[in-house]
Every structure is written in C-alpha cells, then in structure tokens.
C-alpha cells in the first residue's frame, strides 16, 4: 500500500476520490502497482461522507476484487495516470486526450485541480446518492437488448435460441462496442464485443466493419461474383448481414461510403485470388484473414487520408485509437471464437448433476499469458527482451498485446511523424499521438491477428458469454457461469420443489421457499441475462449477493469517477438450443 503512487501526488495526503483524472488504463504511461489506489488514511471523502460513514465499507469489496483480479491474472494498472506520473520515463509528461470534452480539462496543474474539486457542489454540501430500485433498473436496462431466433413452423432449427446483450458505461462516452448479426448468404451467426482504448473511434469502426469482412471472407466465389456484378451494373445488392442492434448501437453514415469501398476492394481481391478450386471455405482462415485485412485497411486509410476533412480526421482517430475484439461465429454445432486482445469468451456447461462449469474458449493476449510474452520476445531482437514487455505492458504502455488500430505500435517512427505532420491540426495538438513509445526500435509491436479456437457444441453446452475485461476483472469465470446458468434455468425451468415421499413439514417448506424467493428476487427483476450479470458484477457484496445499496452507490458515481471503480462492461450471452445441438449429434 505504501507504494501507492497516489499518495505521493496528493500533497495533503488526501485520497482524491473526485479526481477528474480518470482515463484509460490501457494507455497508462504510469505503471502504478495497483488497479485502485488504497488510501492510507481515508480522512475526508466528501462525496461519500454522508451516504456512507465509513468509506472503507465500499472499498473493502473492491480490495477483495482487486486482489482477486491479481490472482486471476489481470494486469495491475493505475487509473490515476494524471496524478501518479511517477514513471521514470515520463514523469513530467501530462498526457491528455482531445477526443472528447470530458478529457479536455485534465491538463490543469495540481493546485487548480484541487480548487476545482473543492468548488464542486457536492464537496461542500454532502448529498446522498441513493437511487431507488426503479432508478437502478432504468440505468442497468438502458442498453439491454434481446434477440430471439424466430421459430419456423414451431420448430427452431437454429442451434442458437437467442442472445441477450447489455453494456454499462464507465467511460463517458463508453468505449466498448458490441455487434451481432446473422449471415444471410452463409449460415451462421456472428457475435462480438469490442473494447476500445484511447477513445471509442476504433472500437466503433471495428464494430461496424469487422462482420462484413468476416462475412465476405466466408462467401463462396460465385456469391462474391454475383455481388460484384450487382455493384458494377448498379443492381440491388444481395444482403449479407442481418444486424441485431440496440437503438443505441449506431453506425456512422459519413464513413459508410469509404468503408464500402475498402470492403469492395477486399472482395475484388478475393475474387482475383480465387484459384478455381472450390474447396470448402475454412472458417478459421476466414476469420484470421478478415481481422488482418480490416486492420490493414484501417492503417491504409489513415495513411492515404481523405479529402473530406471530417473523414480524414475520423480515419486518423480510428487508426490512433485501439480496440480489442472477441468474435464468435456459430453455425450449427460449429463454434469458432476469434480473439484479439483481452476480452474473453466463456462457455457455460451444465454437468449431468445440474452444476455449472466454465470452459474458456479464448486466450487473453496480455502479460499474464506467457505464450504471448514469449511470442513478443521472439518477434523482436534479443536486446529488446526487457523493454518489449515492461511492467506487464507492451513497451510499458499498452495492456493488450494484440489490438486493432493503435498505429503508434505498428507504424515506423517516420511514418507516424509524416502522417501526424500532414494531418489536421487537432491531431497535431494532441500530445498523445505525437508521443512515440519508448524503446521503439523494431515495429510493428502490435498485431490484430486473432487467435481462433474451435469448439464443437455438445448438448451440455448451454450458453456462451462474450464479455470485455470490465466483467472479467470483477468476477471470476466460475461465478459468471453459475450466475448466468442459474438465471437461465430459473427463467425457463426453475427446478421445481416436489414433496413426493419426503417428510416435509409446513414450517420447513416455508423456510425453504422464503430462501428461494430471496434468491430469485434479483433474477425476476431482469428479463435479460446480460443485465442480470452486470447487476451482479457491479452490485455483489462479499457474500456474492446483490446489495442494492452498493449497486445504487456504484451507479450514482459521477461520470468522472465511475472509471476509477470499474471499466466499461459489455456482455453478450448467447443461449444454445440443446435439442437442436443434440439432434446434430445424433445425426452423425
């Protein structure tokens, strides 16, 4: 705790809860030893002093989580980049993002920042931040989305019953994105979560474009030709994807033309490359190609630029920000997960005795993954072995070891400088973009190439959870699978109690039922498995039960504070149809 750098930055020994300095932990240039700094002396906490007499109450579970997350291998990082810049390399550099106004004010000196804090309304007059259960629900449910695969003739032939998704922002605006779509020209469904860093531009672009690249990669030669001919002759195009979007999931209209042209170039190349042998398209290869191609296009678009100044700035922002991606492709019993970065895909398996177990279908690409560290070291000269992964970060800076965008870790220094100089002024003013990572000798250091895992679905595989690390760092995978599993079975066929044969008294039964009801009450509030999971992730107390008070406090944190307590959380829960999966199995 003594190592906590926050203390040394805070002249008065106060732990600045209302520090408006939260920012992206991935790009933290200061390798703070802890995810969250623990106050040595929690003297004055104006925000919570009324609502919660002893601030540590709130932090205690966080400490636990923090420790848990250490155990489970989440990287240590610091949210207080601005304050705890004790990094030997960059001690004086105050980075800021100009991407959005929330961050534009961060580069003020400590003194004025202190005044700023003091001047806050709530600093002088403590206020309660209690939210009523309906308010909590409206926050949790604001982004929830459910999709049920339509049943045909009363028979659902898809191996997917449907999916629930939701996201809870911590950054303002949220940097996570999610996508879900059904492939119309091939079978199968695509689902993905994208965790952006250094802004949301890259994750937004990837969420819009990646599935098209994948779908195109999967298309047979004839279909590609047909589409190309249609474009050529101005005919109506074959629809490729059926999106399943929440109203908040937007697509940028401005870049649509640009994106389309890049995509068209891609399929034209695919058509040209076709050697005539109509071999079965390998999904794994298609996924890898699509990821790499999209990242390549992002990079190229930024290098080429666009005459439209808005688009020009957009493609640069996309390229200079980054995003991880975790995408699942489900076709019948074939489940492919392509992962780039530290989001995770987890399969919920119900054992014969009804208990739940978790099967991880992706590997995190970060410092906790020894193979990744090994890979990086091998890809670069021996003398960089120490600097390429430093303080559990890529070049001491970036947490995920694979990502889209992030050209700062991909382009040569020359290229970076050239693009920035010829770029718009906004880019030039941005110190972050100008800053070249230390020990930057043999780029690229970063790739978007995904690791693809294949899993053949079995009837006991009940659901798949795709989530950004915002979830995984607060909850253990076993808890995640257990909560979702119990939620889903509770919703559909709650294990009924039957007396049959046993000697049960009215009193015993009553006790049992009261217990069950208490357990179920939180389930009944949610119609969406992802929402239910977020409720637990944010509101769980030490005993693994949702604590409304805690939930209410966590959700009432002001924008600038929320990021200190949690990351953006995005979750997709895909439910499988065991009957269909079983039928597939029996066929063979």
């Amino acid at each position: 705790m003594g190592r906590c750098c926050c203390r040394c930055c805070c002249p008065r020994g106060l732990w600045m809860l209302s520090a408006p300095c939260c920012d992206d932990r991935r790009m933290c240039v200061c390798p703070g030893p802890r995810r969250i700094g623990i106050p040595v002396r929690s003297s004055s906490l104006p925000l919570f002093s009324d609502a919660m007499p002893a601030p540590t109450q709130l932090f205690f579970p966080l400490v636990r989580n923090c420790e848990l997350s250490r155990i489970y291998g989440t990287a240590c990082y610091c949210h207080h980049k601005h304050l705890c810049c004790s990094s030997p390399y960059l001690s004086q550099s105050h980075l800021r993002y100009t991407n959005h106004p929330a961050y534009a004010t961060f580069s003020r000196p400590k003194e004025s920042w202190w005044q700023y804090t003091q001047g806050r309304r709530y600093a002088s007059t403590p206020q309660k931040f209690y939210l009523t259960p309906p308010q909590v629900n409206s926050i949790l449910k604001a982004n929830e989305y459910s999709f049920k695969v339509p049943e045909f003739d009363g028979k659902n032939v898809s191996s997917i019953l449907g999916f629930d998704s939701n996201q809870l922002p911590a950054n303002a605006p949220i940097e996570d994105r999610r996508s879900a779509a059904t492939c119309l020209q091939t079978r199968g469904m695509l689902l993905g979560v994208f965790d952006g860093h250094a802004g949301c531009a890259c994750s937004q672009a990837v969420s819009e474009r990646l599935f098209y690249y994948i779908a195109v990669s999967l298309l047979p030669h004839e279909t590609l030709l047909e589409i190309e001919n249609a474009v050529e002759s101005g005919r109506a195009l074959l629809p490729i994807l059926q999106w399943h979007k929440h109203p908040n999931d937007y697509f940028s209209k401005e870049a649509s033309k640009l994106y389309f042209n890049s995509l068209r170039t891609y399929w034209q190349e695919l058509i040209d490359l076709n050697t005539g042998e109509s071999a079965d398209i390998d999904v794994k290869e298609a996924l890898i190609n699509a990821f790499k191609r999209l990242d390549n296009d992002i990079s190229l678009e930024a290098q080429v630029g666009d005459p439209n100044s808005f688009l020009n700035y957009l493609v640069l922002r996309v390229a200079f920000s980054g995003a991880t991606a975790c995408v699942a492709h489900v076709d019948g019993v074939d489940l492919h997960v392509a992962n780039t970065g530290d989001s995770r895909a987890m399969l919920g398996v119900q054992e014969e005795d009804g208990s739940w177990s978790a099967v991880t279908l992706s590997n995190d690409h970060n410092a906790q993954n020894e193979r990744e560290v090994e890979r990086l070291k091998l890809e670069h000269p021996k003398n960089e072995a120490k600097s390429v992964v430093k303080q559990d970060r890529l070049l001491g800076l970036l947490m995920p070891f694979r990502a889209f965008g992030d050209v700062k870790f991909k382009w040569s220094i020359d290229l970076q400088k050239r693009v920035i100089e010829s770029g718009p002024d906004q880019l030039n003013d941005n110190e972050y973009t100008k800053f070249i990572p230390p020990n930057y000798h043999t780029p690229p250091y970063l790739t978007a190439e995904p690791e693809v895992t294949y899993h053949r679905l079995r009837p006991q595989d009940k659901f798949l959870v795709l989530a950004t690390d915002g979830l995984w760092e607060t909850m253990h995978r076993h808890d995640v699978v257990k909560i979702v599993g119990e939620y889903l079975t509770g919703m559909h066929h709650q294990q009924p109690i039957a007396v049959g044969g046993y000697k049960v008294t009215l009193g015993q039964m009553h006790g049992l039922l009261t217990e069950r009801r208490a357990k179920m009450s939180s389930v009944f509030e949610d119609q969406n498995a992802a929402t239910h999971l977020i409720r637990h992730a944010v509101g769980n107390n030490e005993f693994g039960a949702v604590d409304h008070e805690r939930l209410s406090k966590m959700l009432s944190l002001p924008e600038e504070l929320a990021r200190m307590y949690r990351d953006d959380i995005t979750i997709i829960v895909v439910q499988f149809n065991s009957h269909v999966v079983g039928a597939y199995q029996n066929q063979e």
């Binding site: 109690i497 039957a498 049960v504 009215l506 039922l513």
Partner: protein
C-alpha cells in the same frame, strides 16, 4: 354400465379417501368404455359430467323430462369437480348467488339419503375473518343479506373466533362472520350421486365420449357430433367447464362463452397428532387470501393469489395438462399467510400440493342461459371456483329455463346474453381473469371498475374527454365517463379512494349536478344500444305493437317510453322508441341490452325479408345536453326555434347542429331534467361536440359524467333496467301503468299477465326511500342490495341508491313486499300498505330510518323555463 360402476363405488365405501375412489372409478369405467353405442336421438344432450352437468341432468329428470343424454369426455366427476376443495359457502355478494348456494346446501344434505351414495357432507359452518375495518363492513353487508333470505349468520368478535377453531391466531383480527350452516362435502361424490339419481330417473350417461361440435340448422340446435357418432337433439347444454369456451367456438355458428382458466393451488396435509375434528369450521381469511378446511384430520388450505397463472389460453393443450404440477414457489405467499394465521401448524407434515385449474369469467359471475345466436343451445359454466356451491342451484335454474322457457328467479346477472362476441377475445379473457381471480378475495367496495381489458369500445370523443379530466368506467366494453376531475383538483390515489363511506369525488359530482340543474352539461352517452327497425309495409309497426307494452302508433317524430315484456309481464327491456317515419323506428336501450334485446327481437320477429332490424349502435355518438340552458345552446347552433311550442318534449327531429346536418335531436333526457339527446353520425361527433362546447361557454356548459346522471335520475325516481327492473318486474309494480296500452284493446305480449295482475293486485311495489337520520359524511353509504325493513320486519331489498344533492339526503330505490307474518308468503302490496309503514334501511347491520315515497317529488322537476330565456332564444331563432 353406469350402475355397475356405482356398485363398485359403493363397495369402496370403507375407504375414507376420495382420491383413492377416483382411481377405482377410473379403472372401472375404462374397462367398460368400449362396448357402447349412443342413442340416435334425444331431447336434451348435456356435455360435461362434472357437478354442473350432473346437476342439470338431475334437475331436468326431476322435472319430468325423460329423453336426456349426458356425455362426458373422460370419467364422470373427473375434471375440476374431482379436485375441488369441497367447501360449500353461502356467503356471496349477489342475492341470486346466495340463493343458489343455499339451495345447493339443502340439496346436497339430503342427497345421501336420496341416493344412498355417501357424499361426505358435514355441516361444519364457516368463519370469514376480517383483518381490517373495511373488510368487516363488507362482511356485515353480506351478513345482513344472508339473514333476510333465511340463512343464519352472525358477526362475531375475535375472541369468539378463537373458540370456534383450535389453532387460529386471532390477534390481528377485528371481527369475523360465522355462517354455521355452511358445509364441506366431497364434490366428486356429490356429482356421482346426482348422476346416479338422474340415471335412475332415466338419464343416459356415457363417459369417454367427446362432443366434437354441435349441429345447427337455421339457428336451432339439431344434434351433436361426437367421437362415437351423432345424436339428434333439440336442446344442447354446454357444461364443459373450462373447455366450454372452445366447445362454443367449435360450432359452425360459434357460441361465444367468455371464460378462461387459471391454475389454482391448494395444500393437503397429513393428520395432526390429535386429528382435527371433522366438524371443525372452514376458515376463510380473505385479507390473507386463503381458505382452510379440515381434511381427514389434517387441513386443506388454498387461496386466490395476487398473481394468478392463466392457463389453456390457446385451448386444450395436452402438454399443459401434463405440466400441471405443484408450484411451491408460487404457493409461497399463501403458505406464509397460512402459517401466520395458524402458527402451530408449522410442524404439520405436507402430503401434497394440488394444482387444479379453475374457470373464471370477465365479471366474476357464472354464465348460464341460452345462446343468443343458436336456439336450444344452453350453457352453464364459468363458476369462478364456486362450482360446488352454485352447482345445485344453478342446475335447477337452468333446468327450469329449458323446461319453462325462463327460470323462477331473476338471473340476468348470470345470463350468457350479458356478454357478446366482444368479450370473446382470448387476449382479453387472459388479461381479465388475471384481475378476476384475485378479486375473489379482494375487498369489493362500491363502484369498483375492472382495470384490465379496458378501452375496447370508445366514443370518438374519448381522447377529448380524457384530456379534460374524465375518469372512466366500463359497461359492456364501452368506456363511459364517471365524472370529470377539474384541473386544480387532486384526487386521492385509486387505492385510497376505495371506501364504503363518502367518496372523494363527492364535491366534483355535486358541481356537475348543480350545473345540470342550473345551466347545461354535456354527457357522452354513446354506449347506449341503438337499433333501427324498418319495413316496406306496416310490418315494423305490427311487430313492435305486439312486442312492446306501450302504444307505438304515434305521429311521426314522437318518442315513446315503453317496456318490452315477456309472457309474464316482466321487463325484458326498457327502452325509448322514436318513430322516424311511418315505417321506421329508432330504439334506444341500455348498453348491456345489445345482445339480449337483439336476441329477443330476432326470436319474436317473423322471418320476413321486408322487415329489417339493424344494430346502429356504432353509427351514432350520443351527446346528452342536459339542463335548462340546453335549449339556448341548441337553438344558437341550429338557428331553429327550440321552444316547447316548436319542439315539445319527447319529440325527435333531424336537424343541423353547427355545420353538421342530419343530427337526430330528441327532446328527452334519461334523468328527468330538461334537455336534448343528440344522435350524431360519428364523423360529425367531434365537430358537434366542439361547437356545443364553444357556444355553451357563455351558458356555463361543462362536461359531466354518469355519476351525476345517476344522482339525478334516482332522486327523480327513474328506474333503470338491469339495476331496478328485471324480467320479474312488471310495469304495474313500478308505477308505470300509464306506459301500458291495457285499455286500447290491442294484443301485446304479457298483456294477459298484466290484466290478471291488475285485477289481483301487485305483490311488490317499487318505492323510493329517503334516508332520514343518515349522516352523509360519517355514516356508511348505501350501495344496493340493502335490506328494507317495514315496521321492523324484512320487506325487500334496495336496487339502487344515490345521494341527492337537491334533497341533501340519500335516496334508495327498492321493492317493498308484503310477506305474511305467519307463513312468509307474499301478499298483495297496496298503496295504503306502503304509506302506512315505518321504514328502515339496513346498511351493514346499521338501520337508518327512511321515508317511503311512491311518486317522485314534484319540486325536483323544473320543466318550466324562465320567461326571459324564452324571449332571448326567440330572438335568436328568428
């Protein structure tokens, strides 16, 4: 074959458990099921071998009908009847329901003696607990009404309750009602006993025979198609319980029977260590939503939860039947409630949680009677979980209905024809029964309205009125304004305004009433049923002259108030008929008459293509301009003289109002105030309403609702069909002799009965009571159904009541009978008899003095208009 399995049952008698018997029964009938051929024809075919079906069969055979076939798709008494909790309770809200339950009680009691089949009948009595004062009031109201129809019951203190039942926690009780003659019975055995008695009287019973559909020709039942062949028949009785809805729809000409099933749970326990006496009273704790009866030394306890689970929405579904499992989590609130009421039962061992679906109807009353669409198609179903209590009585009334053409009691409240096809939507039923089932134990306060299944039929002005603060009630699916909340007034929340005392809208309605009396109000009365009868010749007049009691051969443009009587002279309908032309009539009847009146007219009109009956309810929006200034508003809008000379009362004219032409204006109101009814083709409704409101502004016009209307009509002693009048009341009994053409020498339906009654005198008389020592602010308000006492002796019940803002007194309307002091027989009621009595009205056990009046109070009628008004409007008009 039937006798054989009865004998098997008798041999099983030693076992006390009916569940076991059911098993025995099933195996017995299963082995016999195959070698059966159905008769080719019968007089009556009854579908359903539950308590209702067997009861109808029993009563029909008792009344001497022989040729009866009863079909049951499974085994006799195997549906809801088998799983019924077996509680017979007479404490009901409607008098007709109390009578049915009372009859059932007496019938079941002697059934064992009559048939030799044990029915498990034990007179345990029942105790209804009140946790709140409001509940106690509700019980007191029921108590008063039970006593006057001869069912003993009393209100008792919590202490006394504890003496009646050994385990009862009475600390949270404020009182209770004890009904000592209520009983418990094995419902399946009752049904079997009824079946056995019926079969001894010649009824043929076939189980494992399903009715596929009913064959109909020319709107008349001709036979039944079953899975074992056809049976020709004249009458078909649908007693199919929760399947009655589907069976009704299976015909080519569907019969709409609005009912829907919900899952219902009750708990069975093993016996207590010292087994509970088998005469331990049944406990009903409506505030705790549970009932508890003794059962084989242990208890049987179930309830009506707040969150019912509707089932079989999409019809009979084998999967759902199989999945009818115990749902303990669903039962948890009821179990908590049970343990709160009887904490000592904690250690009692559970035997079983039974899930037996019960059937509910949109208004919580059962459904009986003949289909309006198919003659000879009778229905008895939708018992709202009181099948055992009502089964006997309801079967009797339905049998009378089939044999005599009408039942011996007024059953309009239960008549199938109170519903139409509009209540037949599955979605509507599903939503509505979810409200109805909890309502069984909810507190029923005056003027409650259903909240679900609303906004089905609305006037085109609905949104306009709603925006102006209208609060709505529903009648026959139609939204009608109750009153208008002024913008500055904040009414109590809905929950809190549920009261037996002075309601929170009192002042609002007062202002509306005052406006009706002094200025002008507009009331949207579009829900009224409107028919047009036209013919090429004189057929329309001839038919109407026969069907209606008043002389309709009036000059064109005149309006006649008249009743539509049945053979016994009772009102089938009370309506106003305007003669539009020589050959066409416009008929306005109460809202809920839409189906009944249509069926009655269809039934009695000759098959004649030149005679056309049309339901034009939907074509017209009806606005009632009510009040002394209505005439000014209307003459300003029409530039036509509206003075009594030009437009006498009870006159109808098509004229223009505002820009809209062809508005049917009638100089009549339904309250006795001066005013006009405007029948407006719906596309003009908004225009006319806007014009009326604009022009009316300077005359102080405002919106008004049905509560004001009700107060106005009751203080003027206007009887309404459905509330005050029914099929058993004649015009002579309610002082409407002047509306009957007895002296004109014309033949009309019911004439003979009326002539006889005129000679013999009437046995009851419609009377107005003005409460004397009633404090409107502090005392309980009358509602309807309160007993009337004459010189300290019961003399009848009220039918409606309202506060009269002019008299500043409560006014109750009701019928006074003259029950002989010795025999209780009804005697002639003379004017003198009424006038010489001292009257009291019993409101929840508290009697208030009342002054009886046979004629309306003349000073309330303000037909005369002030002189200056006449001159002013004349100026406008010319």
């Amino acid at each position: 074959m039937f006798h054989r399995f009865l004998s098997i049952i008798r041999s099983q008698r030693t076992s006390p458990r009916w569940q076991n018997q059911c098993l025995a029964r099933s195996s017995a009938s299963a082995s016999e099921a195959h070698s059966v051929t159905l008769p080719a024809q019968a007089e009556v075919v009854i579908c359903g071998g539950g308590i209702t079906g067997t009861s109808v069969a029993y009563h029909l055979s008792k009344m001497g009908w022989k040729d009866i076939v009863l079909l049951e798709q499974g085994r006799l008494a195997a549906g809801s009847t088998r799983f019924c909790a077996g509680i017979l309770s007479t404490a009901r809200h409607l008098t007709i329901e109390q009578k049915m339950a009372d009859y059932s009680n007496k019938l079941y009691q002697q059934l064992e003696q009559e048939t030799g089949i044990q029915t498990g009948y034990v007179r345990t009595g029942s105790v209804f607990l009140a946790q709140t004062q409001d509940r106690l009031i509700s019980l007191k109201r029921i108590n008063s009404r039970l006593n006057v129809i001869g069912i003993p019951s009393e209100i008792i203190s919590p202490k006394k309750v504890a003496e009646l039942h050994p385990f009862l926690n009475m600390h949270d009780l404020v009182g209770a009602m004890h009904v000592p003659e209520d009983a418990v019975v094995s419902s399946a055995d009752v049904a079997l006993a009824l079946a056995s008695a019926a079969s001894q009287n010649g009824v043929q019973i076939y189980d494992r025979t399903s009715v596929l559909h009913v064959m109909v020709k020319k709107g008349q039942v001709t036979g039944v198609e079953t899975d074992k062949g056809q049976i020709e028949c004249r009458y078909f009785v649908n007693c199919a319980g929760q399947w009655a809805y589907e069976l009704g729809l299976s015909n080519e000409e569907p019969v709409s029977i609005p009912l829907h099933a919900c899952e219902h749970f009750y708990l069975l326990t093993r016996p207590l260590e010292t087994p509970l006496q088998n005469n331990t009273p049944t406990i009903v704790d409506p505030d705790g939503r549970i009932y508890i009866r003794n059962w084989q030394g242990g208890i049987l306890s179930g309830g009506f939860e707040k969150n019912p689970k509707p089932i079989f929405t999409e019809g009979k579904n084998q999967l759902e039947i199989q999945n009818l499992q115990e749902d303990w989590d669903h039962f948890e609130p009821l179990l908590s409630s049970l343990l709160r009421r009887m904490p000592e039962l904690e250690t009692l061992e559970i035997m079983k949680l039974v899930n037996c679906p019960e059937t509910f109807t949109p208004d919580m009353r059962c459904i009986m009677g003949e289909s309006p669409a198919v003659r000879g198609y009778f229905v008895l179903a939708g018992m709202n979980s009181a099948g055992l209590s009502f089964g006997g009585g309801a079967g009797k009334y339905l049998a009378e209905w089939i044999v005599n053409g009408y039942p011996s009691e007024n059953v309009w409240e239960l008549d199938l024809k109170r519903f139409g096809a509009l209540q037949s939507s599955r979605t509507f039923l599903r939503h509505r029964v979810m409200e109805v089932m909890p309502l069984i134990y909810d507190l029923k306060v005056p003027r409650w309205d259903f909240q679900t299944g609303r906004q089905l039929r609305t006037s085109p002005l609905y949104d306009r009125l709603d925006a102006q603060g209208a609060r709505w009630m529903e009648k026959h699916g139609f939204e009608r304004p109750k009153y208008f909340v002024p913008p500055d007034k904040d009414l109590l929340a809905l929950e809190q305004s549920k009261t037996f005392y002075k309601p929170d809208w009192f002042d609002i309605v007062e202002a509306e009433v005052k406006c009706c009396k002094e200025a002008v109000c507009v009331i949207d009365m579009s829900s009224f049923t409107k028919f047009e009868i036209t013919s090429t010749g004189d057929q329309a007049l001839d038919v109407l002259q026969f069907l209606f009691s008043n002389d309709l051969d009036v000059p064109v443009g005149h309006i006649v108030h008249t009743g539509m009587l049945n053979e016994t002279g009772g009102y089938e309908n009370d309506c106003s008929i305007a003669r539009l032309s020589k050959r066409s009539f416009f008929m306005i009847s109460p809202t809920d008459q839409q189906v009944h009146c249509w069926a009655w007219l269809r039934k009695h009109m000759p098959e004649d293509s030149s005679l056309v009956l049309e339901d034009v309810t939907w074509k017209y929006t009806a606005l009632n301009l009510i009040g002394p200034r209505a005439v000014d508003v209307l003459s300003e809008l029409s530039y036509a003289p509206m003075t009594p000379d030009h437009f006498p009362t009870l006159f109808c004219k098509e004229m223009s109002v505002g820009y809209a032409n062809g508005i049917r204006v009638m100089s009549m109101t339904h309250t006795g105030e001066p005013g006009f009814m405007l029948y407006i083709p719906i596309e003009y409704a908004l225009h006319v309403y806007n014009e009326v409101m604009n022009v009316g502004q300077k005359y102080g016009i405002r919106n008004s609702g049905y509560y004001a209307l009700r107060s106005l009509r009751i203080e003027k002693f206007f009887a309404f069909w459905g509330q005050d009048l029914n099929t058993l009341t004649t015009p002579l009994e309610c002082g409407r002799e002047s509306r009957v053409k007895l002296d004109k020498g014309m033949d009309f339906m019911g004439q003979d009965a009326l002539l006889q009654q005129k000679q013999n005198g009437v046995y009851k008389r419609f009377t107005m009571f003005i409460l004397e020592d009633h404090d409107t602010d502090l005392d309980l308000w009358p509602w309807w159904g309160e007993p009337i006492y004459r010189n300290g002796r019961y003399a009848g019940q009220t039918t409606s009541s309202a506060y009269s803002y002019s008299l500043e007194r409560h006014v109750c309307l009701g019928f006074v009978h003259n029950f002989s002091e010795d025999t209780g027989e009804e005697q002639v009621v003379t004017v003198d008899f009424i006038n010489r009595g001292e009257y009291e009205i019993d409101i929840a056990g508290c009697r208030f003095q009342a002054k009886a009046k046979l004629y309306p109070i003349a000073s309330l009628f303000t037909h005369k208009r002030r002189k200056d008004d006449v001159e002013l409007s004349d100026l406008h008009g010319k």
